[in-house]
């Protein structure tokens, strides 16, 4: 049914995104990239995909400028999509940017807390999370002012409301604030795709629910794993778990009581996929290679949990393109592009630092 009127408003965007998706680097391209000896070679290999964006780079650019340029391409394409989107798709694309906004706001709050000149922080902000009133955040000099007069003007205001007071901004660790916001954001996004009159019941809702649930579970597991050995209490940790996802509610409850990796493994056992991931990494069986990706320099053979999660995310994103008449391809495309940027950065780092043996740790799904 949704196919009948979808193309009236959104057909152009869908066409564009599918075009962009075909521009993503394939496994063959990655193979060529890993053969490069210098960054210049890499630049040359990226030429067909990135063209103009890399043209202005000096010879032998640093990996960070390379990453900045590849992100620039993503941003300019994203902005083009946003400018052409109407109606609920426009709102959907806006939702995509909120995640980046949270990062930016967290950055600015950190700056304000330490009484730095927040103006110079603006250029460090992620361009995708840019919103019109963001420069206004810099006007606030103390945290109360920031909360009362500035934050409520931002699109993120609902995420602050009810869960964070201005005292919290002062006292809580910025990471907890960030994750609280992110949790609220995920819940709101989940709610949006399932209740919006244009989206509910369409393939968009279906695919997006899968993606968001995966994202929520991933965050819950990561937060739990990363909080071991820190002063984050279990009650506080529990508040950071999104209240949906395949782990919710039993798994989340068990996660909130987990003390070690074994506890996490027990908590996720209810969901077969996650159980498999844990079995693949060998976590919780005493010989854990570490939960972090690529086991932090130790270079084990088995993949780490974060690697598997990333791989899974990419596969879900790839799967999204098999559906038609859905907004979720925009989300999937952004995720794929981000991963591509990370892959390029990783390969460039490996080349620059002469660590060729680890160069194949990138994730490619095409």
């Amino acid at each position: 049914m949704e196919g009948l009127l979808y193309n009236v408003n959104n057909g152009y965007i869908e066409g564009i995104v599918r075009g962009y998706r075909n521009g993503l680097l394939t496994g063959n391209n990655y193979n060529n990239l890993t053969q490069c000896e210098t960054i210049d070679d890499l630049k040359l290999q990226l030429g067909p995909a990135y063209g103009d964006f890399l043209a202005s780079l000096p010879p032998n650019p640093s990996t960070s400028t390379l990453a900045a340029k590849t992100t620039e391409k993503l941003i300019s394409e994203f902005r083009y999509l946003r400018a052409n989107a109407v109606g609920s798709l426009a709102k959907f694309i806006d939702y995509l940017t909120y995640g980046y906004m949270i990062d930016n706001v967290a950055l600015l709050i950190t700056g304000t807390l330490h009484e730095r000149d927040t103006r110079e922080l603006l250029e460090r902000c992620h361009p995708l999370g840019w919103f019109e009133t963001m420069p206004v955040l810099c006007v606030a000099t103390n945290i109360e002012e920031l909360y009362n007069s500035v934050l409520i003007e931002t699109p993120l205001a609902p995420y602050f409301k009810g869960s964070l007071s201005h005292q919290d901004l002062d006292e809580l660790n910025i990471e907890i604030i960030r994750n609280t916001l992110y949790k609220n954001y995920l819940e709101d996004f989940h709610n949006f795709v399932n209740t919006d009159s244009d989206i509910a019941g369409t393939p968009t809702a279906e695919v997006m629910t899968e993606m968001l649930e995966f994202e929520a579970d991933r965050r819950a597991i990561n937060i739990t794993l990363n909080s071991f050995g820190t002063d984050l209490t279990k009650e506080k940790r529990k508040k950071l778990y999104p209240s949906f996802g395949r782990l919710y509610p039993e798994g989340s409850y068990m996660l909130s009581r987990a003390d070690d990796i074994e506890g996490v493994r027990l908590a996720v056992e209810g969901v077969n996929d996650y159980k498999n991931y844990f079995d693949q990494t060998g976590l919780g069986q005493g010989n854990g290679a570490g939960a972090g990706n690529m086991s932090g320099g130790a270079g084990g053979d088995s993949k780490s949990l974060e690697d598997i999660f990333l791989q899974r995310e990419m596969e879900i994103s790839k799967g999204a393109f098999t559906r038609q008449f859905t907004y979720s391809i925009v989300y999937a495309w952004v995720k794929l592009r981000e991963q591509e940027t990370r892959n390029i950065t990783w390969i460039a780092e490996c080349i620059a630092q002469n660590q060729k043996e680890r160069i194949n740790n990138y994730i490619s799904v095409f």
Partner: protein, 258 residues
Amino acid sequence: MSGAGNREAVFPTRQSLGLMKLKLKGAQTGHDLLKRKSEALTKRFREITRRIDEAKRKMGRVMQIAAFSLAEVTYAVGGDIGYQVQESAKSARFRVRTKQENVSGVFLPAFESFTTEGNNDFGLTGLGKGGQQVQKCRETYARAVETLVELASLQTAFVILDEVIKVVNRRVNAIEHVIIPRTENTIKYINSELDELDREEFFRLKKVQNKKQRDTAAQDAEIIAKRKAGEQKENDRENETSGGGDILGDDEDADVIF
């Protein structure tokens, strides 16, 4: 040799000879001691050089790993965490204290690193994703800084020892090539002067003796001459008075005195 003129301005007396001999002995002892010190320092110096070499190689490797772990963080977190880490770090976790080490009287500062426990300012960084990488990266960099601290104390010791060895060697050489030859020269000079004086004295005494002998001889000759003259006179007188008188008579001969 360094020339006869290279000696100390002393009077060539037996007393100063004694002083010089003492001085020479002192200089030789000092030379031995300094030489030994210099050798000890050089040994230490070589060891430090070797360890610096090792530490530098190690640093290269460790820094490479550290830089790579930062790349991993960038990959995992997918953004710049530098600012956040900078802002949330409140007190130093990795500290350095100095202590002194005594090598043959030279004080070498040694830096010792230690981490303050329970100071985990950015423990929550990357909570959502990449937290493990951040912690691992921090550990790797802590190890890198440890190597740097080790290298720093070695380098400081290297510089100080270099300086001290130069000074000590200069002293050793000065004693060996200047002070000892000069003292020896002085002793030789004093000895030769004293010998000279001895010879002069001997010669003088000989002269005196000669003169005395000559004088005695002259005196003897005079006495003999005188006596001969006396005897002549007596004989004449005898001959005049008794003229062939009884030799065995009462009149006695005058005693002959030689």
